[in-house]
């Protein structure tokens, strides 16, 4: 039996595969590179990704204003779930490398969030190039800045985690011209909405005389009516992303904003937390009580397999009863006293036979 169990355990151990990656991903988050997607494996156990990584900037990037960058991944050999983790960084040191450390703000990541690490499922392969767009707010101080794109993914045979990082991509952030028509510095786009809900957006602009809003839905671009800097994006019927941008006219050169992405999502799951916690405590006390009220099974038949105390006790009782009966029926001694050679104890037990023989 033990041998069979050992064989089964050995087969189970041998059937496992060694993997240092998180095949299901770890979720989008703000992450440094040293922990971007393969936290359960030492960096020394990672393989080197063969993917080519690139970042493209807009021609003009102004300090403190919104800008769009496009990241692309080519020649990535990934695992069967086609998932890749992409991280936008400011250095390749693995420390103090978040874009926020240089003053960048991620307004919209490719998944509609505001994270520097995103997990993308797409048709990554050795023959394809997959591009993603990020909307950033540039640092408020003009100057030269660097950005890197790091990648984490599995390998086709599911063996080890692969990591890689792009070469340094430099961008010059210029000072904002005085009369540049633009969106206000503190204005933020809406990134997500619920299905079936119209979205009214209010623009806040500077140095702007007129605005045109373009909505891209599918392959088509339509102009939306803007009244007092407000416009409405029609409700979405299905989950998905629509893109829109604004063209601002004023005294300065005409400006076109980045494409803003608006994700339509199904309503999230909601629960009455008070009811949930109450039910949790109710179950705790109920099951504790139910365990406490149960009685021990009848002396555990298995444990008492060799326990003969019941038989011994019953036999002992029978002997005691017999002894008491005999004591009560001790015959009186003969006139001449005990027969010759008898003891009193013998008389108590066999006296009746002696008398019977005489009779």
């Amino acid at each position: 039996m033990r041998f069979k169990i050992a064989i089964v355990l050995l087969l189970m151990i041998l059937s496992t595969t060694i993997s240092t990656a998180n095949p299901g991903g770890k979720g989008d988050a703000v992450r440094s590179r040293d922990c971007a997607g393969s936290c359960h494996g030492s960096s020394s156990t990672n393989g080197s990704s063969g993917a080519e990584l690139a970042i493209q900037f807009q021609s003009e990037v102004y300090a403190g204003l919104l800008t769009e960058i496009e990241t692309s991944v080519s020649f990535a050999e990934v695992s069967s779930n086609n998932m890749v983790g992409l991280t936008l960084l400011i250095n390749s040191d693995g420390a103090k490398d978040l874009p926020a450390n240089d003053g960048w703000e991620i307004i919209t990541d490719p998944n509609g969030g505001t994270n520097n690490y995103v997990e993308i499922v797409d048709s990554f392969s050795i023959e394809s190039m997959v591009s993603q767009k990020w909307t950033l707010r540039a640092p408020s101080n003009p100057g030269d800045y660097n950005l890197y794109l790091a990648i984490q993914h599995g390998s086709p045979n599911g063996g080890i985690a692969m990591t890689g990082i792009s070469s340094m991509q430099s961008v010059t952030v210029s000072e904002v011209p005085e009369n540049l028509p633009r969106l206000a510095d503190n204005w933020q786009p809406v990134n997500s909405r619920l299905l079936g809900e119209e979205t009214e957006i209010t623009l806040e602009t500077l140095n702007t005389d007129s605005v045109v809003v373009e909505l891209q839905s599918g392959g088509e671009i339509i102009n939306l009516e803007v009244v007092e800097n407000k416009f409405t994006i029609p409700a979405a019927v299905n989950p998905g992303v629509v893109q829109w941008r604004v063209i601002l006219d004023g005294e300065g050169p005409t400006q076109t904003s980045p494409w803003f992405r608006l994700s339509a999502v199904e309503p999230g799951w909601e629960v009455d937390e008070t009811a949930l916690y109450l039910q949790g405590f109710a179950l705790l006390f109920l099951f504790a009580g139910l365990v406490l009220v149960q009685k021990s099974s009848s002396s555990s038949e298995v444990e008492n397999k060799y326990d003969n105390s019941f038989e011994v006790n019953s036999q002992f009782g029978a002997i005691q009863e017999e002894s008491e009966t005999q004591t009560n029926t001790v015959r009186p001694l003969p006139a001449g006293g005990l027969p010759e050679g008898w003891t009193m104890e013998q008389w108590e037990y066999y006296g009746h036979e002696y008398q019977g023989g005489f009779q």
Binding site: N22, P23, G24, G25, K26, G27, A29, G268, W269, E270, V271, D272, E273, T274, A275, L276, Y277, L278, Q279, G280, F281, A282, L283, L284, F285, L286, F287, A288, G289, L290, V291, L292, V293, Q294, S296, S297, S300, V302, E303
Partner: protein, 169 residues
């Protein structure tokens, strides 16, 4: 300082480890095999897991990235861990009050351990999208109406109190 997520991993591994040890010891108790210390190991490990459980629950709630419990898996984790903790508390009190470790007692111990390990399995699916518990309906939450929860809570407290009084007498 460490983040709630890291602390949750520490508390969870303590909980799961001690509960798993307890489960093996309860299995030996049920089979009536193994070292004579199996009963002590089962109950002391269960106590260790029980002590670590509140830390795992609280740190887990704090580590959630969204606002509150916004996923059915989280709700199921809470209900399963509370049920498991209830069974474990009952077993420990029962043992403390002198009951014998029979087959039923050991079986309840294994059920408690199984529920806690299921909770951990659901946590794995929630955070990493992977689990071995493929056939368990983790997205379905059996949530009672408030009145039913209050009734069950009152019933549970009554049974609990009655057992305590019976033990004292």
């Amino acid at each position: 300082m460490i983040s709630a997520g890291t602390f949750h991993v520490i508390a969870t591994e303590l909980t799961v480890g001690t509960f798993a040890l307890s489960g093996v010891a309860f299995l030996l108790c049920a089979l009536n095999k193994g070292p004579s210390s199996r009963e002590a190991v089962a109950h002391w490990a269960l106590l260790g897991g029980l002590i670590a459980t509140p830390f795992a629950i609280i740190s887990g709630v704090n580590a959630i990235s969204g606002e509150g419990i916004d996923n059915p898996m989280l709700a199921n984790k809470l209900l399963l861990s509370m049920t498991s903790a209830g069974l474990a508390i009952g077993l420990l009190l029962r043992k403390m009050w002198g009951s014998t470790v029979d087959l039923r007692h050991a079986s309840v111990g294994m059920i408690s351990v199984a529920l806690m390990l299921t909770t951990a399995g659901i946590g794995g699916e929630y955070s990493r999208g992977e689990t071995l518990l493929l056939f368990i309906p983790k997205d379905t939450v059996m949530l009672f109406p408030m009145w039913a929860s209050i009734t069950i809570l009152a019933l549970g407290l009554a049974i609990f109190a009655k057992s305590a009084v019976q033990h004292r007498s």
